[in-house]
């Protein structure tokens, strides 16, 4: 199954309809705003979401949905999934 690296709210909108059941979505860069603003991306509850802690802290965000991960976790996810797709809309 695929790993989706989502870089923006619009990137999530592009990624979401093209997800398969077992896929994992990582929110990073400005994609982390999807995890704090349910109206920006109200489909987030249907996806297996991970959120980069580094990007949350950079942006001063604390309360979010989704499991928090760090760079070693991201590397681990990459080893478990193929292909790895970036969504940077």
């Amino acid at each position: 199954m695929a790993l989706h690296l989502v870089y923006s709210i619009r990137g999530f909108s592009a990624c979401h309809p093209r997800l398969q059941q077992e896929d994992v979505v990582v929110l990073l860069a400005d994609g982390v705003y999807c995890a704090v603003n349910p109206t920006a991306a109200d489909n987030t509850q249907n996806a297996d979401l991970r959120v980069m802690t580094d990007d949350l802290e950079i942006r001063g965000l604390t309360t979010v949905s989704g499991k928090r991960i760090d760079y070693p976790d991201l590397v681990e996810l990459c080893t478990q999934h193929t292909p790895i797709i970036s969504w940077n809309d």
């Binding site: 860069a29 760079y71 070693p72 991201l74 590397v75 080893t79 193929t82 292909p83 790895i84 970036s86």
Partner: protein
């Protein structure tokens, strides 16, 4: 596991380089191998030897050079994308009769074939967009 890393975003115009560096560091710390880091689009500017970043900010080019030095990683700048954006090795500077070479050590100017070649021998390909 073997990884090919592609960086697409410009240094200072994006945070693609900072993110890719953190990923690469975590990658080697977990015992994985980075076959090649390939700089494409505006990311070729990461290989310029003439950038002077503000003192309180990261020097992206130096950070890559330090990483490559520590882990013997190949830093490959796409030659077609690079020379049109002013990134010139000694050879290209002489070929096009430009005033000076601008490629930082230990970056190399290589053809796109080197990206595909790295992918062919890698288990994973991770791209860092602008």
């Amino acid at each position: 596991m073997k990884f090919t890393i592609a960086v697409h975003g410009a240094p200072y115009g994006s945070f693609a380089n900072e993110r890719a560096l953190k990923f690469c560091q975590a990658c080697v710390a977990s015992g994985h191998e980075i076959v090649r880091v390939f700089f494409y689009h505006e990311a070729v500017l990461s290989g310029l030897n003439s950038t002077v970043p503000p003192q309180d900010e990261i020097d992206v080019t130096q950070a890559w050079a330090d990483f490559a030095d520590t882990h013997q990683t190949e830093l490959a700048v796409c030659i077609a994308n690079g020379i049109k954006r002013g990134v010139l090795s000694d050879t290209e500077q002489a070929r096009y009769d430009k005033p000076s070479p601008t490629l930082a050590q230990p970056f190399e100017l290589v053809g796109l074939g080197q990206l595909i070649d790295a992918m062919a021998s890698s288990d994973r390909y991770v791209e860092f967009p602008a």
